[in-house]
């Protein structure tokens, strides 16, 4: 029997018309279904574990829409994005795309790299940085692509961002140049780069051959070694595909753990079908939800990772993102700092908004601290130097696009004309690969 879990809006995968949609519970699974008056019905597996879907839904913290001085226009969401008054979340990560050139030609690529050309120059990049920082002066800025290391002026671009006040700059890279060029990691670190967001799909070349078309493991390991030598932090970012690497996520965690403190964590991204992907509507068995990643992690790292460590992050829709935070204890085990119960009693984002409204630049006052000669001090320092974050993000494609989720998105691409567009809207493609947005 089908049970409707909740209703929302989506797009037809064929004509991109806005249509009603809903989540349904069927045989213990959560499905996303919708029907276009012209192109018929569509149903796709969303989460394999409907109980978990519902439990996470209850943890949802939805901010109200905010007056941004830009009323929604006639075209509406997601056709005329640029953060209008209907959008519920500010920018937490701003993505600046530096190029669409890439030295790989992956089977799966959200940006569909090498298919078009866009390379903003210094003046335009300055405007794009300014737009990101005007949206949120404390946002993380991710330099992305294509492959951003294809640009010879990348160190200058990093310096520009830092000069303009970016508190956290990360580089989304496949790591090939980091591996190939001694001194390059140190050069980026010296320019002000804070973190390498490294494509890292596993520890078996068979995975790279299937996802990236060639053996890459040796290069990935070399890139990590170069970053370690340069003192540059790395976040491992695997794309997760059932039948390819879903059964080896534990290995990735153990590898990351062995490289603490330079490896800061692992950020899993189940494959979504946008940009370049194998084509057509994905079969349910090819679908991977965040719940599959969490279950796989707990099964593959028994005794160390537990379901209750994983929490939906407050800045996101609960089905967009999860995180768990650990530190490496003196015995070499990951000890959890996050607990599911931390979100109890905090299910309304309005609570946060009230607190924000009370924000007056409180004057700080003297408090002695930072001493490591107490048990608390030693613990605090350990959590600082040996922390490890396991997180995941479920991107939306045209088959499971939920406009309600999209309006809560805080990962925004800065467009060439300096608008901020939610990541999953910017990269959305119809079933034939036609894009909604282009730079």
């Amino acid at each position: 029997m089908n049970v409707i879990l909740h209703e929302t809006e989506s797009l037809c995968p064929v004509c991109l018309r806005r249509i009603p949609a809903r989540y349904e519970r069927r045989d213990g699974r959560a499905y996303f279904t919708k029907a276009c008056p012209e192109h018929g019905g569509f149903s796709t597996l969303f989460w394999r574990d409907a109980d978990m879907y519902e439990s996470w839904l209850r943890q949802g913290v939805h901010a109200p829409a905010k007056d941004r001085g830009r009323p929604p226009d006639e075209a509406g969401c997601p056709f005329s994005c640029g953060l209008c008054d209907a959008h519920r979340s500010g920018t937490c990560t701003a993505v600046i795309e530096l190029t669409y050139r890439c030295d790989l030609d992956c089977r799966v690529c959200f940006a569909d790299a090498n298919s078009r050309r866009f390379e903003p120059g210094p003046a335009q990049l300055e405007r794009m940085y300014a737009a990101a920082l005007a949206s949120n002066r404390f946002c993380s800025i991710q330099l992305s692509g294509g492959e951003p290391t294809m640009r010879e002026d990348l160190p200058d671009i990093i310096r520009l961002g830092k000069r303009m006040g970016a508190v956290h700059l990360q580089l989304n890279t496949n790591g090939l140049r980091l591996a190939a060029e001694p001194g390059y990691a140190a050069q980026l670190k010296a320019a002000g780069l804070d973190l390498v967001y490294l494509q890292f799909d596993g520890l078996d070349d068979a995975v790279y051959r299937r996802l990236r078309g060639r053996d890459l493991l040796e290069l990935k390991l070399k890139a990590i070694a170069r970053c370690e030598a340069a003192g540059l932090g790395v976040l491992l970012v695997p794309v997760v595909v059932p039948g390819v690497n879903l059964d080896s996520l534990g290995e990735i965690v153990r590898f990351g753990k062995a490289h603490i403190p330079f490896v800061k964590g692992v950020h899993f991204q189940p494959m979504s079908c946008f940009g370049r992907f194998p084509g057509g509507a994905p079969a349910d068995e090819e679908r991977c939800g965040l719940c599959d990643v969490i279950h796989a992690l707990c099964e593959q790292c028994p005794g160390e990772l537990r379901l209750e460590h994983f929490v939906p992050r407050k800045q996101f829709d609960p089905h967009c993102d999860f995180s768990s935070t650990y530190f490496l204890d003196a015995g070499g085990r990951l000890a959890a700092l996050s607990e599911r119960s931390q979100n109890d009693g905090d299910t309304e984002r309005t609570d946060f908004v009230e607190k924000t409204n009370k924000y007056t630049q409180k004057r700080w006052r003297y408090q002695p601290g930072g001493q490591a000669d107490t048990a608390l001090g030693r613990f605090a320092l350990r959590t600082l130097t040996h922390s490890f974050c396991i997180s995941g993000m479920g991107f939306q494609d045209v088959w499971n696009l939920d406009l309600g989720r999209l309006r809560g998105c805080c990962v925004h691409v800065v467009t060439a004309d300096c608008r901020l567009v939610p990541f999953c809207a910017f990269h959305l493609t119809d079933e034939r690969g036609g894009r909604l947005y282009e730079n």
Binding site: F138, Q315, T325, L337, S338, N357, Y359, K362, G369, L381
Partner: protein, 67 residues
Amino acid sequence: MKRMGVDADMALGSALELYPQIYPALLSQGLCCVNEENEGLSLGELARSLGREPEGFIEALNAAAGC
């Protein structure tokens, strides 16, 4: 001269203005990002929202701030 550091009453946004170098430490403590919803939270409130004891959380941030 020793700098004075952050405390549990200080708003996240104020702390970052004074000590931008604590940003990676905030990430290591479980924060995903700083945005309009949380920059007005006090560090004590933020610690509790992350399931952390404020005292240890503040210690860690002060260590990162070099205080």
